[in-house]
Every structure is written in structure tokens, then in C-alpha cells.
């Protein structure tokens, strides 16, 4: 090889070496550069600059580790590195919303961040140190961060009973129970009740085929003129308990046909004395009297009626029973009379109390319902329906099972279906790969799946059997929260020890009181030892609170004790014996250990003490701001005009000491009374007595 060629080759070689060594250097430099540019390191440097720009630099940078920071809770297998970037999370001075993320402090909640970590509540990937890995769904991680509006779901994972701080979750749980979701799905913490929808065994004695057709087509009785607002429902939130099934004309005819043949017992019409009826019928204001009676008995405490005022239709009344605006066009009059006399004869599980009716009241109220609570056009859009053919009935019976009707409704002789839909008891801990999205184009996350499924069941699965609900956005969020909280057996070891189970107290009194308790359904509105409704006062300690004689009088003729309350205790027309049985039981059994009835002697209240109490009431503590005596005072607390006949003095003393110890969510503020002041106030209150006023309203109520 000639020398110059050799020189050329070596020069080329040297060049190649030079280039490759530079390339090597560059490659070697990539990793330190990349390391320097890691997001968490950048946030670390940013945090220092941020802290230095504030007056409290020293505090913000005290004990700050300049490395990956993690919260390690071995018992729960938590390793959260979120605090590597969210460095100000525990700094009380950074709570303000003007502090830029990711440095803002966590809002002050009952759990400390250092004790619990982040992902137990917020989900996401705690180990990750990249922004995307930590927050979003990646190939290796399917539980992204939970949107803040659903964060209450995480409270519900451990706190299985309702917390006051989680209204959205509580509302969701309540809706899941009220909308009978448990008819088809297994849900965590919600038991299948004895009755979901009404028993349809004798439905033909109650309604016509045309009405069934109409109801199945669109289960609402009231629609606004634009067709949007519908009222038949739940807490005036416009959602009927019965959802809309997507039935075609054939299916509507078949199902309505089948149901209209269901009648195993012939209805025995209640026999009024025809001479009396003739006398009542002669009254020109019969219907008006019926309406007055309907009002006086406070049917609207549980049932609502649509009232149109100034062009705006509103539901007035309670949501415990069905809305009744058009019930006269629905129910067969004979059935209605029989139902009002004894609801449990038709539906053994009905919540409606069995009133003591006089024949006249029963007749005029029925007449009022039949003639005033009607809508002649209600069934006008229903096609002419003949009596059903055998083929229709057969198809109807099949549809009853196929559509899942048998999950909520019972028909004697037809097997009932429990768990017709998928088990949702652990829906909240499902990963994306366990969900079926079909061909839909939504985001592949658990949250969007649940939202889509509830909004439109067909959007994720065109063959879905689930019926259509129309929920408001708020209710949708509430239900989604409640479903997300159903984590089944938590995947995280150690978490199961933290679960605070929901209590399901029972109160089933026996004996004569038990019979009356069942008859008047006290627990539908009142609460006893944590069991029962929340519409009316908790009666757990009623025996400590009220005097026996007052209880008897009140039960016979209830009055509203709080002027602001719109719901009132119905007038059951109890006999004296019944009222005495109830008052005796409540007085002896329902007592609190915090009130010693023997401890306060009302005889020691001398006139000077009473006048001191009056002064304290009116001047120093201004109780009249909230309480009414006679005709003056406030509307917040109960009317005290008759408190001397109503309450036990020992209860009043205990109440003035600490109201929340007797009724945990009482509105009355706890004040710092001295012992003398408390005695004086009690003495004054015990002098407030009204005599005979209860009788006058009672007489007015029956005054026909």
C-alpha cells in the first residue's frame, strides 16, 4: 500500500474515531441531562424559588428533603411519592387557592396526609414519579385519579354509614335505595327490602288496561306543557321510582293485556248504609267537605299534589307515598275505598297507616278524590284496547320475566327474580379491562363508564336490559359517587380493618304498643333508637321529654309544634285507649339516662325564681328571637305557649345544659347558663300553660 494512501486511511480512521468518541460522549451525557430534567426535580427547584419568593421561606423549607419523598404505610401497602412534587401539601400557610399547583396545601380534613397518604382517597399511582403515570390511566395502571367531584366516594369505602360531611355520597346511597336499584343489582350496604314495587297479583281490581298501557309507556302522571318537567317523584327531583322501559307497541299491548287479567280475589266493595249515603249526597258542598277532611287529615304529609300558581306547576306535599294529582282517573272507586280502610289488606307491606275512619269521612274523602283529583284527558292518547287475546297474555307473561319486571314486582305464581342484573357490590374497585365499553367512543375510565351507563344504558351496550332513568346532573353525580364507594372487599390489605360498618338498627316492639305501632306506621316518619324515618322528631327519648297527659292529648289531636314545619302529623282519629297505650309505652320505655325525672322538683319554683326566669328569657338571652309564646316570637324553635303542660321540668333543665346531648343535631345553641339561671328558666317555662286551646281546634276539625 502506498504511503499516501495509508495516510489517507489513517486520517479517515482518525475522523471516524473523533466522530464516534463525540457520539459516545453525547450518549453518555444524555442520561445525566435527562435526569436533571426530570419533572419532579424541576418541581423541586421550582418549589425552592417559590418558597424564596414568600415571607415564610424558612418554614416552607424546614426539613425539606431534596430527593424523592414518600409516605410509607406498610400495614396498608401504601407507598405514595405524590409529596415529591406536591411539596407544600402539609404547609398550613399554603392553603389559599391563590397558591399555584402543585404546591398548594391540602384542605383541612379530619385525616392527616402524613398518616394516610394520598392514593387511598384520590386513587392514581402512588409510586410513579412522572406526572402522567401518577394521574392517568397508563398501560400498566388502570386506576387514574378520581375527579374531585367524586371524592366523597372514597370516604364511603371505609365509612359505610352516612357522614354529615359527605352529603353527595349520602344522597347517592339514598337514591340507590329509593330507585330500587337493589331489585336487579347486588349493592354493598343496601339490603333487599321486603317490598320493592307493588304486588301485582290483583292489579286488575285497581286499574284498567288502558291505564297500565299508559303507565308502561311513560311512567309519569304529570308532564309540563313542554314535555320536559315531570313530577311523580322523589323529593320533587322529578324522578319517578318506576323507570322507563323501552317497550314497543306490541310489547305494550301484551304486557298491559297480561297484567289486566291478574285478579285472584274479587274485590268486595265496602257497603255504606244506602240511606246515609243518600243523605250525604244531598249536601251541595259534599266534595268541598271531602277536600277539607283530606287536608285536615294531613294526607299531604306523605302524598304530594301538583298545584298551579301563577302559571307555575309545583308539587306540594311529601314524598313518602305516591303523588296523587290524577289518582281519581287511575284507581277504581271501590278499590280506593277498600284501600283507604285497610291498605295492608291489598299490600301487606304498604307503609300507609290504617286510619280510624268514620263512614262519612271515608265516603266524602273518596268522593273528593274521585271527582277532583282527576284528569279526563289522561288516557286520551291510549289506543282502543279490547280484552286481551290469549297470545297477548302469553307474550305479556314472558315479557314480565324477560324485561326484569319480576325483580321488583311480585305476582303470585310467578317466580321472583333476584340479582337479575350484574353484581355491583365491588364496582368501585373494578379496573378498566374488566368493563365492557363496546364500540362507544367515550374515555376508557371507570367514572365515564358509570356515568354513561346511568345516563343511557344503551350507550355502552346496545343490548342492555337496564331501563332508562332521567336523573338531574346532581343526582347523577350523587349516584356515581355512591357506586364508586362500593369497593367490595378492598384490594388493599389492611384497609378491611378500617371499615366502619353501617348499623342497621331494628325496632320491633311487641304487645299492644307493637300492634298500634304497626297499625299507625310510626316508624315511617319517626325515629326510634336510630331506626325509622327522619321526617318527624326522633322519639327515642320521648318519655323523658313529654308529660303523659300531653302525649295522650296530642296523639288524639296532633298539632304542629314548630311554626315553620310544612309537614304535619296526620290525624289518625285514635281512640283514648289507643293514645293511652302509646303514651304509656313511650313514657316508660323511651327514656334517656341523662335526664333524671325525679331530679327536679317543680314545687320548689317560687314566684321570684319564675320572674327571674322571665327576665332572663326576654332580656338577657332573648329566647323570643326563635321561640313563640302566645302570638309573639320567632319561628325557629317550637312554640312554647304550652310548654308547662308539654315537657318534663327535668328535660328542660337537661336541654338547657346541653341540647345536643339529648338530640344530637338540635339547632338550639348550647349556652353557658349558670345553675341558677337554668333553674329560673325552667321555672318560668313551666308556668307557660294553655288550657283548652287544643280542644277548640279539634272541634273545628270535626265541625260538620
Amino acid at each position: 500500500m502506498p504511503a499516501e494512501e495509508l495516510g489517507k486511511a489513517s486520517r479517515r480512521m482518525r475522523l471516524a474515531f473523533a466522530i464516534s468518541s463525540v457520539a459516545f460522549l453525547v450518549v453518555l451525557a444524555v442520561s445525566p441531562v435527562r435526569d436533571y430534567l426530570r419533572a419532579w426535580k424541576r418541581y423541586e427547584r421550582d418549589y425552592i424559588r417559590f418558597a424564596q419568593s414568600r415571607p415564610d421561606t424558612k418554614q416552607l423549607l424546614a426539613d425539606k428533603p431534596f430527593e424523592i419523598d414518600q409516605i410509607w404505610i406498610p400495614q396498608m401497602q401504601v407507598v405514595d411519592r405524590c409529596t415529591t412534587c406536591h411539596q407544600g401539601i402539609t404547609q398550613p400557610t399554603l392553603e389559599d387557592s391563590s397558591v399555584i399547583q402543585p404546591f398548594r396545601a391540602h384542605p383541612h380534613i379530619p385525616h392527616r396526609v402524613r398518616d394516610w397518604g394520598c392514593v387511598i382517597c384520590h386513587r392514581g399511582q402512588g409510586l410513579a414519579t412522572e406526572v402522567r403515570d401518577a394521574h392517568e390511566t397508563t398501560l400498566a395502571w388502570e386506576q387514574p385519579i378520581l375527579p374531585v367531584r367524586y371524592i366523597q366516594a372514597s370516604c364511603g369505602v371505609c365509612h359505610r354509614s352516612d357522614l354529615p360531611q359527605t352529603p353527595r355520597l349520602n344522597r347517592g346511597r339514598k337514591l340507590l335505595a329509593a330507585l330500587n336499584c337493589v331489585g336487579c343489582h347486588r349493592l354493598q350496604g343496601i339490603e333487599r327490602p321486603a317490598m320493592l314495587g307493588p304486588d301485582l297479583t290483583n292489579i286488575a281490581s285497581k286499574v284498567s288496561r288502558a291505564w297500565i298501557y299508559k303507565w308502561l309507556k311513560d311512567p309519569r302522571t304529570l308532564t309540563a306543557s313542554d314535555g320536559s318537567v315531570v313530577v311523580n317523584g322523589y323529593e320533587n327531583e322529578d324522578e319517578p321510582r318506576m323507570p322507563k322501559f323501552r317497550l314497543n307497541e306490541n310489547e305494550l299491548r301484551a304486557l298491559s293485556g297480561y297484567l289486566s287479567t291478574l285478579q285472584t280475589e274479587t274485590l268486595q266493595p265496602y257497603k255504606f248504609d244506602p240511606r246515609e249515603v243518600a243523605a250525604w249526597d244531598r249536601k251541595p258542598d259534599l266534595v268541598e267537605q271531602g277536600e277539607t277532611r283530606f287536608r285536615q287529615m294531613f294526607c299531604t304529609t306523605c302524598h304530594s299534589l301538583a298545584v298551579t300558581r301563577a302559571g307555575e306547576t309545583k308539587l306540594i306535599g311529601g314524598d313518602i307515598g305516591p303523588e296523587l294529582t290524577k289518582v281519581g282517573s287511575k284507581a277504581n272507586p271501590d278499590w280506593l275505598t277498600a284501600w283507604l280502610r285497610n291498605p295492608q289488606a291489598y299490600l301487606p307491606q304498604a307503609q300507609m297507616p290504617r286510619y280510624q275512619w268514620s263512614d262519612q269521612d271515608l265516603y266524602i274523602v273518596t268522593r273528593y278524590i274521585e271527582s277532583r283529583l282527576t284528569d279526563p284527558t289522561l288516557l286520551s292518547d291510549v289506543p282502543k284496547l279490547q280484552s286481551p287475546t290469549a297470545a297477548e297474555s302469553q307474550l305479556g307473561r314472558r315479557l314480565f320475566l324477560e324485561k326484569g319486571c319480576a325483580s321488583c314486582h311480585v305476582i303470585k305464581g310467578v317466580a321472583s327474580q333476584a340479582d337479575y342484573g350484574p353484581d355491583l357490590a365491588s364496582l368501585g374497585s373494578k379496573t378498566v379491562s374488566q368493563l365492557e365499553f363496546g364500540n362507544s367512543r367515550m374515555a376508557r375510565t371507570l367514572v365515564s363508564y358509570i356515568e354513561a351507563k346511568i345516563t343511557d344504558p344503551l350507550s355502552v351496550n346496545t343490548a342492555a336490559r337496564m331501563p332508562q332513568y332521567s336523573l338531574t346532573p346532581n343526582d347523577l353525580e350523587a349516584i356515581t359517587s355512591a357506586l364508586l364507594s362500593m369497593s367490595g372487599n378492598p384490594a388493599r390489605a389492611g384497609l378491611e380493618n378500617l371499615i366502619l360498618p353501617a348499623k342497621h338498627p331494628q325496632f320491633r316492639p311487641a304487645g299492644a304498643f307493637g300492634e298500634l305501632f304497626e297499625r299507625y306506621k310510626c316508624d315511617v316518619c319517626h325515629r326510634f333508637n336510630g331506626f325509622g324515618g327522619t321526617l318527624a322528631p326522633d322519639l327515642t327519648f320521648e318519655g323523658s321529654r313529654a308529660q303523659r297527659k300531653w302525649m295522650v292529648d296530642f296523639l288524639k289531636n296532633p298539632q304542629t309544634l314548630r311554626p315553620t314545619l310544612t309537614f304535619r302529623m296526620p290525624q289518625f282519629n285514635m281512640t283514648t285507649e289507643e293514645a293511652t297505650v302509646l303514651a304509656d309505652y313511650l313514657g316508660i320505655v323511651m327514656q334517656t339516662p341523662n335526664v333524671n325525672l325525679e331530679g327536679v322538683n317543680a314545687k320548689q319554683f317560687s314566684p321570684p325564681i319564675v320572674s327571674l326566669g322571665k327576665q332572663l328569657y326576654e332580656v338577657k338571652y332573648q329566647c323570643q328571637s326563635c321561640h313563640t309564646i302566645g302570638s309573639t316570637g320567632g319561628y325557629v324553635g317550637p312554640n312554647l305557649s304550652n310548654v308547662g303542660n308539654w315537657m318534663n321540668p327535668a328535660w328542660l333543665e337537661g336541654w338547657l345544659k346541653d341540647p345536643q346531648s339529648l338530640v344530637p343535631d338540635a339547632i338550639e345553641p348550647r349556652r353557658a347558663f349558670t345553675d341558677e339561671e337554668r333553674t329560673a328558666l325552667t321555672a318560668y317555662l313551666m308556668t307557660l300553660k294553655q288550657n283548652g286551646s287544643t280542644r277548640t281546634t279539634a272541634a273545628a276539625g270535626r265541625g260538620q
Binding site: 435527562r34 419568593s53 326563635c626 320567632g634 339547632i667
Partner: protein, 163 residues
């Protein structure tokens, strides 16, 4: 010459590679997390919904249990006790009255009652019924729904923003 070019190119490449790996913060795109913890419609204009953070939402809960009876014109039970009192208590969203009052003053009125700070004694003390957290939460709620809106007093120190 060519060598220099190669080196420069290589450096540029590696730099580009390095930066492309750094993630943008999640806030850059429309973020579902930005939706509020809770909300309350503006009392004067129901179409305008005010979003509430955690603390304000707790304040809303306390307000609707204890305060609403006298500090609103409609209550969960219907009528209000407000018109019944003399002087009329301010509405919960009355910014003109409440905005000038400092947080400390509000805390005192609620904890110790109106009489202590020279206001109406009809306002009872809530210090033994509500916790300090509850009271702070209620104040935060009042500030959130105030009309005209509440402006927090200026804080010392420059505002910082991430690059």
C-alpha cells in the same frame, strides 16, 4: 467543519430528546379535576352557580343546619325567621354588610354572640355548639356566596408563577 456540525447536531438532538420526555402538567388541557367539590347557586341569580371548595362546602352544610333560619329569606322548612327580628339579620350573601367585616370579627360574632361585639343580642353564641373548624368553614361559605363578591385583603409577598 463537518465535525463541528455533527457535534452541534448531536447536542441539539440530545437536548430535544431530553425536553420531549418532560411531561406538561395536567392543568394544560381541559381538566375534569378542575370541577368543584360542591356548588351553590347565587341567591340573586339562580343561573349563576358558584363553585365551592372543600372548606366552603363544609360551611354550606353548617349554614343550612344552623344559620339559614335567620340569615336567609327562604329556608328548607319554608318561611324564614329573618323578618321577625329587629334589627333584621343580614342575609348570608349580603356582601355590602359582611365584606367589610374582618374574618376575626366574624369569628367573634359567631363564637361569642352578637352582644359581645356590640351587635344585636338576638344573635346567640355558637362557640359551645360548633367547632372552630365549623365556624371557619361558615365564614368561608359567607365569603364565597357574597354579592358583591368578597375580595380577600391583599397578602404580603410577591405572587409566584411556575414557568
Amino acid at each position: 467543519m463537518r465535525l463541528k456540525l455533527i457535534v452541534v447536531l448531536a447536542l441539539l438532538l440530545s437536548a430535544g430528546f431530553g425536553t420531549s420526555c418532560r411531561e406538561k402538567p395536567a392543568a394544560a388541557k381541559p381538566d375534569p379535576l378542575a370541577r368543584a367539590y360542591d356548588s351553590e347557586p347565587d341567591w340573586n341569580d339562580p343561573q349563576h352557580v358558584i363553585s365551592l371548595n372543600y372548606q366552603q362546602a363544609q360551611g354550606k352544610r353548617v349554614f343550612y343546619q344552623y344559620c339559614v333560619w335567620c340569615h336567609a329569606d327562604s329556608t328548607p322548612a319554608g318561611p324564614s325567621n329573618r323578618s321577625n327580628l329587629n334589627p333584621n339579620p343580614p342575609l348570608g350573601n349580603d356582601g355590602a354588610t359582611l365584606n367589610p367585616l374582618s374574618d376575626d370579627f366574624m369569628r367573634n360574632v359567631i363564637t361569642l354572640g352578637g352582644g359581645v361585639v356590640g351587635k344585636s343580642t338576638s344573635m346567640p353564641p355558637w362557640g359551645k355548639t360548633l367547632s372552630q373548624d365549623d365556624i371557619d368553614a361558615v365564614i368561608a361559605f359567607y365569603r364565597a356566596i357574597a354579592q358583591p363578591p368578597y375580595q380577600a385583603p391583599a397578602r404580603p409577598g410577591p405572587k409566584y408563577s411556575v414557568r
